[in-house]
Each structure stands twice: as structure tokens, then as C-alpha cells.
Amino acid sequence: MVDTFNTVWLDNLPVMARVSDSTGACVYVNNPWQNFTGNVLNHEKGDGWKQSIHPDDKEKYLENLKSAIKEGKEYSFELRLKKKNGDYHWFVDSGKPLYDPLGKYVLFVSVYTDVSNTKKHEEELNSSLEGKEVLLREIHHRVKNNMAVVAGMLDLHMDYVNSPSDREIFLACQSRVLSMALIHEKLYRSETLSKINFKNYIEDLVKKVRASYMDRTGSITVKIEADNTELDLERAMPCGLILNELITNAFKHAFNNLEKGEIIIGFFSKIGKYTLFVSDNGIGIEDDSQLNSSATLGYTLVAALTKQLDAMMEVDKTKGLMVKFTF
């Protein structure tokens, strides 16, 4: 089946090669194959060659090979083969059917390329990436914990502050730190370590802000209208801080003298554009200058963060107040 001419060029190939008939039985292995495995041709013929396949790869590889030979299709599979010294090397087996002059499929030639070094580098790279991922996760965890400590210190400091307006400043600072800490908490739990599910973040942020202003939030309901868009760290941080300011502001001022109120927070993305809004059905504001006022740190921060996001801010005072950002 494999004539002398063919065995000569097969034996002179710089890679290992094996030839099987159309039933899948091995009819020839070249010299490089015999040198690598330490097995002679007669041993490898038929099913003998299969003894060199790594036990973990055997079942899947042979199954794939069988169907490729049956269908007479070219293929490329990875497997480990045993060297004569007992070591296993990784190979890529590339196979191709050969046809006789009448177009009848008669043989299958499989060429084995040693990719052990590439595999080793790949494994080292993966292991190094895994290590870096663990480290990054740990850093986000620690940043979050350290921010919780900062928030804790502000909490302790509040005991030494008598003026209610000064206490508000401490509370606002604490809330800002916690809104940033929450981003890191979400990041270290995220799969990618670079993006977070922002809807999930909004839900938790609302709980935290509500807890900070517990005495004023009892009759206020909060509705979140958001899709499951993920947001990267660069945008999540300013968005989180903006939301913290607007939600806090709504809880504190939007429903003065009103028995109940509703805050709606929206976040969604469409064709690469994000929309974020906070609206309330409260008493509203008299004029836009309040929003542009540099007298309140909250709105100064919102203006700065809007710029950072390269976002467009729109204000609607038709009913209560709605502040919308598109970026």
C-alpha cells in the first residue's frame, strides 16, 4: 500500500508521520516516529501505535480520528505521545486523505508536529495570568476594605462633631467613600475584574444611602429601571459617585414637607451609548442655577464627574426633578 518511493520521502521528513488505510488501521510509521517512540514498524502496525497515546487523551483523540477517517476529511487534533524514555510530548496531528488516480480514497497521512515548547509557554503564561488575576482580585478586596476603614474613621469622628451641618458633611464624605468602596467590592466579585453589572451596583448603593439617611427615607420608594449592562471601572466610578450625590440629594431635599415620594433611577445602553438618570416626583428646584452652583460640593462634584465621563447632562423640571446623563 505504501510503496518504496513513498517510504523514502516519508522517512526523510523532518517530522513524525503515520499512514493508515481507509479503515483506520496503521500501515506505516516513518523513521522519526520510530526514533521518538522507540517502537519498530511491525509493532506499530494495526493498532500497536495507539499504545503511545497518553491515557487521558486516548478516548477523545481516537474518537475524533475515527470520524475524520470515516468521512475522509482533513483534520488537526492535539494529543500527547510517549517518548522512548517515558516522557510525554505534546503534538499537533494534522491529517489528510490521499486518493488514487481514479479518485478513490485509499490512505490517510498524519503528520505529527512537536508543540511541547509552545504548550509549556502557554501553560506558563496561563499560570502567570491566573496569578495576576488572584493578585488583582486581592487588591480590589483590600482597597474596598481600606475604604471601609476610612468610612469607619469618619463614623467615629462624627461623635466629636456637635454642629448638625458639620455632621452632614461627615455623613456625605462617608457616603462618597462607601460608594467608591462598593465599586471595588463589585469588581473583585466580577468575572472579568474590569467591568461590573451596574444595575446590581445601583441596587446596593440605594440600600447603603437609604441606611445612612434612615430617619428621612421611610416613606420614599425607589424604583430601578435598568438593563444588565456592564460598565468598566473608568466609567463606573464617576457614575457611582454621581448617583450617590443625586440619590442622597433626593432623599434629603426632594420631599420636604411631602408625605411620600418616589425616586426612579434608570440606566441602560443602546448602540454603544449609555443613559443614566435619576428622577423624583418631589418639590423640584426653582431654577437651574442651583444645579450649576459651586456653593454646594455635591453639584460641583456632579459637574466635574460629568466632564470626566464626557457626558451630556440634561435637567427636566416639568414634574419634580430629573437629571439625565448620556455618554
Binding site: A148, V149, G152, D155, L156, L178, E185, K207, A211, M214
Partner: protein
């Protein structure tokens, strides 16, 4: 109101916790930063409730500490952890009479959890 043992390795967070617990009307008997310290404190101070961090100073963590405490006490415990992975929560739940909270601690949630833990504990004793 309850007598509480706080087990926390971060002393700033322990101070905040102590302050908030006192704000809720409870008494913090002592603050321990290690598992072995906590085990001794449960035997000597006899608190009504433990608030336990998972990561502690010393050789045993909060869950292992509770496994040791369970050998001689059914005291309720509220775990407060910076890591709320499901596997850790499951291990914590296995120590019985436990509640689990993530850091940073929400005062409102803490109040609810303490009430729940104390109620369950008094029902058990009846």
C-alpha cells in the same frame, strides 16, 4: 439588650462596630482579635451573642473558632465578613445558630440580625 462579644482583627472597624452596637443599646463585653482569645472570652465572660469576623489574627479563622466554641456553647453568632463568597457562607452556616453579614456593616441590617439571632436563641432555650 444583649451582652455582646466582638471578634474582629481590624481595630478601627471594631471601634465602629462597638459604637454602633452601643447606639442600638447593647453592651460590648470585650473585643477580641484572635480565635483563641474569643474561645477564652466565651468561657469566662458568657456573652449573649458573638459578632465574628471570618479573617482573624492567629492560626484559626472565625469559622474554625466557632467550631471550637460549639463544643461547649450554643451561643448565637453573627458573622461579619469582607468576603461573602458562597463557599464561605456555606461553611459559616454549618456552624449553626448563625447569621451572615457583609462588610461594611449596615446598621439597620445589623439591628435586624441581632434581634433575629437573639429571638431564635431564646426560643431554643425554652
Amino acid at each position: 439588650m444583649a451582652k455582646i462579644l466582638v471578634v474582629e482583627d481590624d481595630m478601627i472597624l471594631a471601634l465602629v462596630l462597638k459604637k454602633n452596637l452601643e447606639k442600638l443599646g447593647h453592651t460590648v463585653l470585650e473585643v477580641q482579635s484572635s480565635g483563641h482569645g474569643a474561645i477564652d472570652a466565651v468561657s469566662t465572660s458568657r456573652p449573649d451573642l458573638i459578632i465574628m469576623d471570618i479573617k482573624l489574627m492567629g492560626s484559626i479563622d472565625g469559622i474554625q473558632t466557632m467550631i471550637e466554641i460549639r463544643k461547649f456553647s450554643e451561643i448565637p453568632v453573627i458573622y461579619v465578613s469582607g468576603n461573602s463568597d458562597e463557599s464561605i457562607k456555606l461553611k459559616a452556616e454549618a456552624t449553626e445558630s448563625s447569621e451572615f453579614m457583609s462588610k461594611p456593616v449596615d446598621l439597620f441590617e445589623l439591628k435586624e440580625r441581632i434581634n433575629k439571632a437573639l429571638e431564635l436563641s431564646s426560643e431554643k432555650k425554652k
